[in-house]
């Protein structure tokens, strides 16, 4: 499912908002989540999961082609930990 399919599906499931408002609302939610993580703040959605940043120390890497050592700067990467309800609903016996 893509973002536009998700938005379409939400539009069809509610009857109070006009489509353009649903579209905007979803985009605002995602933008707020990105802003929160870029400020190194956590996101905690009960029943869904939590997002935070994991920090990677700087290290010496190698250019795989030439073998030359290059210094890789420290960086932060987003991390998602699924919450209990999401884990249980996805983990259906197969």
């Amino acid at each position: 499912m893509t973002k536009s399919e998700l938005i379409e599906s939400i539009i069809s499931k509610q009857d109070q908002l006009i489509p353009v408002d649903v579209d905007l609302a979803i985009k605002m939610i995602l933008e707020k989540m990105i802003q929160t993580l870029s400020a190194n703040e956590r996101i905690e959605i009960r029943g869904f999961g939590s997002f935070c940043l994991h920090h990677r120390a700087s290290r010496i890497g190698r250019n795989p082609k030439t073998g030359a050592a290059v210094e890789l700067a420290s960086r932060s990467v987003p991390y998602f930990k699924p919450g209990k309800e999401l884990r249980e609903r996805v983990n259906v016996p197969v």
């Binding site: 939400i10 509610q14 109070q16 989540m33 400020a39 956590r42």
Partner: protein, 99 residues
């Protein structure tokens, strides 16, 4: 520093988009429920600019009870993984915090 919650997202939709409080709360719920129900049906969710929620089937493997050291089997399971998208990655990678 407190975490961003569903209540904060609903407040934003109320303050900045002008939804009423009930609509705002429902929209936030619907958004996360829609992702959960897609994943529950084994369908991955790709949110361009943010990231992809993917499903992985894990085989059963031998594990250990970390308390007693006893070996126990970890059962086969289906799990969700998140792969962040380019835009999210590039917006957070430069974060150098004073921690």
């Amino acid at each position: 520093m407190t975490a961003l919650t569903k209540a904060d997202l609903a407040d934003m939709l109320f303050n900045e988009l002008g939804l009423n409080k009930r609509e705002a709360k429902e929209m936030v719920e619907l958004f996360f429920e829609e992702i959960r129900s897609s994943l529950e049906k084994n369908k991955e969710v790709k949110l361009s600019g943010f990231g992809n929620f993917e499903i992985r089937d894990k085989k059963s493997r031998p594990g250990r009870n970390p308390k007693t050291g006893e070996s126990v089997a970890v059962s086969a399971r289906r799990v969700v993984t998140f792969k962040s998208g380019q835009k999210l990655k590039s917006r957070v990678e430069g974060y150098v915090g004073i921690s």
